[in-house]
């Protein structure tokens, strides 16, 4: 194992903002943020639909506001393989709906509550994610 591209300060700063968002949403609106839950419920359920929509719109506005105020373009590197994008997207959608949570819902909100369910989910998707990258590297 070699360590590369390590950016602890920006990672921690971004994390603090995410934690602040989760805490404020709980203190003010009374719910815990989970993006997969809010996105899939927006599609499926009438309950809190508008509130969920506003959160999702905020998620999309965030990067634009960042670029507007800091004048910094956001660079990302993403696969252009249709197989990986469609397959990956379907697995992420199906899996997070089935297990009722993703990196935010289980990984942050659930662990904040000390939920054993969420701790187990987080360990599981982390391990499988690491194994998936390991296998794709070999193939």
């Amino acid at each position: 194992m070699n360590i590369i591209n390590f950016t602890p300060i920006t990672a921690l700063t971004g994390g603090l903002l995410i934690g602040l968002s989760v805490a404020l949403f709980f203190i003010l609106n009374g719910r815990m943020i989970g993006v997969s839950g809010m996105a899939s419920n927006f599609l499926i359920s009438k309950e809190n639909r508008i509130e969920n929509l506003f959160f999702l719109v905020g998620l999309i506005l965030g990067p634009s506001i960042y670029t507007f105020f800091l004048g910094q373009e956001i660079q990302i590197t993403i696969s252009n393989s249709l197989f990986l994008l469609i397959g990956g997207g379907a697995l992420v959608g199906f899996g997070t709906r089935l297990s009722s949570g993703c990196t935010s819902g289980h990984g942050i909100s659930g662990i904040s509550r000390f939920s054993l369910r969420s701790i187990i989910a987080t360990i599981t998707f982390m391990i499988v994610g690491i194994l998936t990258v390991l296998i794709t590297n070999i193939l």
Binding site: P8, L20, N29, L59, Y66, L98
Partner: protein
């Protein structure tokens, strides 16, 4: 007021994903590439988030009600079942294939990137299939 809070929290969350670079699939895959060239940064995203959300959650959870709502609404599901494990396995596999999880995927719509658009559409189809079959 709830809607303004939702929008505001979404914006803060989205900016957090940009600052931490979790919005970048290459960064996420670097974190999952534990056995080769590992980028531990994303562990710090989680630490940063948890050190804010954990104490504040426990400080406010026993209050009568949230500031702008009639009651708190928190998951009461404690069951460690097949759905939880199988779902997490599927999610981990998809995350490792494309380097995107739901939050960054939706945020990256802002970048008008075709690849992340395809991912998001496929993700919503995945939500729907899971909803219909379970």
């Amino acid at each position: 007021m709830n809607k303004i809070v939702s929008l505001f929290c979404g914006i803060i969350f989205g900016i957090g994903l940009v600052v931490s670079e979790m919005i970048n699939p290459a960064k996420v895959l670097g974190f999952l590439n534990l056995f080769d060239a590992w980028d531990p940064s994303l562990a710090f995203v989680m630490i940063g988030a948890l050190i804010v959300s954990t104490p504040l959650f426990h400080l406010f959870k026993n209050k009568d009600k949230p500031l702008f709502n009639s009651n708190f609404s928190i998951s009461t599901n404690k069951e460690i079942d097949k759905k939880l494990i199988i779902g997490s396995v599927f999610f981990g596999a998809g995350w490792g294939l494309a380097g995107l999880c739901p939050g960054p995927a939706i945020s990256s719509i802002a970048l008008l990137n075709v690849s992340s658009g395809i991912f998001v559409i496929s993700m919503f189809i995945g939500f729907y299939i899971a909803y219909k079959t379970n």
